[in-house]
Symmetry: D2
Subunit: 367 residues, 4 copies
């Protein structure tokens, strides 16, 4: 007997629009008891004062509390990625896990989850956080039934951040935090989390990393990590997506790494590996088989794209993260033929400088 | 004996960076006497308070006045398109015309130019403006040696707008203007100009257009028009690009019409017609042959892209024109392999709603 | 036996920060059963994609549902005004009504409330809406025990708006709506609501108003209206604040009308009428007696302030409403000595063009 | 025989609107030969991509080159301060110096100027820059005929910044720069310049300052410094304004220090010292005597104004500098009765944290 992963991509008419998810629950397509995580693109600015994320999180929490006991609802990992620039469409991606079923389609998409212990505040942004995340990724792989790191194609880490009160707590214990700047702590936490994924997946050598590399040495990166910092947690929530022989069903996942913001050819190649022909733009039939695309975007730090200047880092009216999401989503939508894509920003050590990882989930059902 | 068109795409380090153009003049690559027009992407917001355009215009004017008699410098058509969102690279495109040369390569890219008489202010945004622009396009075609409208692939119209003082002048004559809102007058002037191009090129039937269609009936459009309103002129400056047997040299032009913001397949097909293989992304050698890409971007008025919601029209922090340029430039850059592209916004009647025309200039020289 | 109004101004650490209100309820300072309305400044952009308002509304609703039966919680009028530009402090203003008490301090601040019937969609932005709001204001005055319109100092109207579905409903009945542009319907609804207040308070002559004046003739205005459009209601919620002999207690209200964005002298005079000396800036003791300031801000339509140009209407990066709130809040905070002020934008017919009404609630308790 | 200072405040209709200055020159009110400096508020964002400043600078340079020999035109100090948020009016302030005249009105406003030697790049943001600026301020005081630092009321310093090429030059000499981040170098240069002023004026003790205080220890500040970094210079241009017995005429200057963003009482007191009664808002006659107001605005680093939270530092859509200018200009305009004020941002060590210096120039002519 195997497990089966279900992935539901559902359009959102607003950050608190639960109608699509409610309808799927009502019709039996989604069983709330099996929901492991919800990733979503919400339509705020994706930056400090983005209230679309909190609003969506509250609405989702209320929804799951209507259907589940509180402690079970609280266990669902909610990752809200703000910023739907360009024509990117706001949407929910609901990850569900079902027991039972035959082995047809194995190996198939597997979902694993882990929660780390609480991170001592003075470990944030340091090697100790890398180690804790790496251990968590290994636990989530085990939960997913994935032995080989090469079978992991996407790791979502939700990580803590520092606020004044937490810094104070560390101070009182005589411990010294990595930064007293709360905004910077978000970047450092994402950076250490991504490097933790890279260590767990064997993409970089743990022995070669020092504290000083975290958030600074962009030559170190994971091609499969996606990290996001949240004020509401003190530990890490980790979701691993990969291929496992212990899972069955029509879904499969693969990934590509874009070397820069328009490096779409590796994504085209990955689509082909998954059975989707993308000689030009994906045609409607193949497009329908692409269940979800999860990517990262950022402005290259040297202010250049293939030798030409970009102005994203010099724009004091629009954050570079917003520019980058719009632009990279355009490049990817030009390839796959629609823009209901999960493209998020803030890509410290998540793919090479100016580029980023792209995970693809497809439905292999016979037509 | 034929004529020959030269097109120089030159990177800009700032809105007033003339170093690249000056170097090309110093080395003899550009002869200022032959310059017909300069189109440029500058790095402002492309909206009302975009001072990067005025700054670039002043810098270009000073440059040409250093090399040409004032009246000759004043004749050069300067079209500054603000807004280099995403990774779009600021650049100059200098269009030059050279007499002489043999007929090798004919038909080839031809450049024609016309200036219309001053537009009475009460004609702006009305059928009379359409007629005046249509006549101007025909004159520019004649100047370019193009007989068949099908050989025209890009028409740039710089058109006037209304300001309080001009409205007052019309008032004193007892004439009634189409709008008293100066910002709206820009849109109406672009709209009538684009329809004037469509009439001249036979894309729409003049008899079927009424005043009420201008800026309202988006089913009427030109697949080759690009219009831009400027406060500094009272008439229209028109530049026509097309293929003519009376012109020779390695350059050729063609165009495509995108039906929506990610409809890149017609552009791929046009690249193929021009001899550039774009099975995937253009490779470096083919990329080097693409001299210039001139396109239009806008948010679709129904708030949808292929059935999914976009949020561009609801964003009160970033104008939809800025979102659209970033996104469409991403889609086109994903196809052609770089982002030094001329993608401009404000596309009334310039391509279908949410889509837009794309002109491509390539160098056919043997390698 | 009289009634007594309580007004609680409570700082907000975030749009969903209920801790201050919860603490006031826990300590008995606020009795949820008496709460009539909550007005709040939340920290979004105050425009279309301001999710701070919806987030605050949801959090407040959940709070009151924890303390009250659902239908009672639903009756509380929640008016979220987005936009805390400059140093304006996000805060809640909770209006509470208490039965009983002696007549000491009468006349005193009185609070009245009314709900109008649902507004037929084709009435929105037309004379019929003015009439319905005027009737509602009269009903709220009666509820407050205020006979003389001169005793009314602030009227908050929450009014409906049009969306596609509502326009369709009117269409099916063969009724014609005032506008098919949903954003414009917000402005028209606020405009008609403000004029309804002006009619009820005798500030303008109903017979002299025509449909064409609504949202167009800025010479018509109320010095006491504050209107806000919300998608969640189909009728009007009206809250009237004024002075009534039937109410007692230490609170009093008065108002001033600013003729332009820096016309603070009428506010100074109103403060004096209320017993607060504001020769210069209010000193800490007097400042402590100012319970709430409720004002309106907007950019003057002629682009001028006292003869000098302002650039608010030409700024395509920041909405003029955001500029105006920051600037006017600065002028008022310079007068009263702090910036936890309720300054809202979107002031159609609410005060003269470029100016606005300012209501002041003070505590007259002996010290 | 004495000298006389003239100060011309002239409205600007656009960043390149020279019509007002040209008219003043044509009518003889301004003699270009005597112009020492032009300070201006231009309508860009005041941040990295503010092209309104460069555009204004180019237009002013062309103007003065039409009236003066190039080397004389080049000597005029041009300080463009971007950002006219709220209702702040764009304007030019032309400072002119005239020889001759009797001693009536002495002491009067005096203008002194100095240029320092080029700053070695490795000195930028360090004690050596403080010392160089302090020496320059002393030279400018001597040029102005001011002996007593207490008679100095405003010091404008235009200072250099680092760019990649300059960092490279220092690297090649084996010298280490204070920062490799070019944006940060602007802040450090302004910070060291302000501290240089404070040292020259005896506001702080040079011996107590270390490199680590620069751009970090906000308890050190000048109440009279205004610093602005410009890419176009390698040294410092310093303009000192104060009172000197060697100068005559109707103009006088004084200053105040605002302790926070709404601390207008010290400004009111300074106006009184200058003979302008500001019990409430300045009345039109007194307002006409206020020739210029030069102030600084910034968001307080603790996110608070008099105990209430402000959201300026958490706003990822609008820079805190823009919020602060709009708000502080509102507070000052509420006091002086108009908004054609020079309020600039970026106030490192220029006034206390969250506050800033305000200089006032008045005309004492009998009426």
């Amino acid at each position: 007997m195997t497990q089966r992963a279900l992935v539901h991509r559902i359009s959102a008419a607003a950050p608190d629009d639960m109608s699509g998810i409610e309808a799927a629950i009502a019709s039996g397509r989604i069983d709330p008891k099996g929901v492991v995580a919800v990733l979503a693109k919400t339509e705020g600015n994706g930056l400090v004062n983005d209230f679309s994320r909190g609003h969506a999180t509250l609405a989702l929490s209320l929804l799951f509390r209507r259907h589940l006991p509180p402690e079970q609802a609280a266990r669902i990992c909610l990752v809200m990625s703000g910023g739907t620039e360009g024509a990117m469409a706001p949407h929910w991606i609901v990850f569900e896990r079902k027991e039972g079923g035959n082995t047809a389609g194995a190996p198939a998409l597997a979902i694993g989850r882990a929660h780390t212990p609480a991170l001592p505040f003075e470990h944030l942004g340091r090697l100790a956080q890398i180690d804790q995340v790496a251990a968590g990724v290994r636990a989530a792989m085990q939960d997913a039934g994935i032995d080989n790191p090469a079978d992991v194609h996407y790791v979502q880490v939700k990580c803590p951040l520092l606020i004044a009160q937490r810094i104070g707590e560390a101070d009182r214990r005589g411990a010294s935090v990595a930064t007293r700047d709360t905004l910077k702590s978000m970047g450092l936490s994402r950076a250490a989390s991504a490097l933790g994924v890279a260590v767990a997946l064997g993409e970089i050598d743990r022995a070669a990393v020092s504290d000083a590399d975290i958030g600074a040495n962009w030559s170190l990166w994971s091609g499969r990590a996606s990290a996001s910092a949240g004020i509401e947690l003190l530990n890490h929530e980790i979701v691993v997506l990969g291929m496992s022989p212990a899972w069955s069903g029509p879904l499969a996942i693969d990934h590509a790494v874009m070397d820069d913001a328009i490096d779409v050819e590796p994504v085209r190649t990955a689509l082909r590996r998954l059975g989707l022909d993308a000689a030009g733009q994906l045609r409607p039939d193949a497009r329908g088989r692409l269940v979800a695309l999860l990517g990262k975007a950022e402005a290259s730090h040297d202010g250049r794209l293939r030798g030409h200047r970009h102005t994203m880092l010099d724009d004091s009216d629009i954050s570079s993260t917003r520019h980058a999401r719009a632009f990279v989503c355009g490049a990817l939508a030009g390839l796959v033929g629609h823009a209901e894509l999960y493209v998020s920003g803030g890509a410290e050590h998540q793919g090479p400088d100016g580029g980023g990882p792209v995970a693809l989930i497809v439905d292999r059902s016979p037509t």
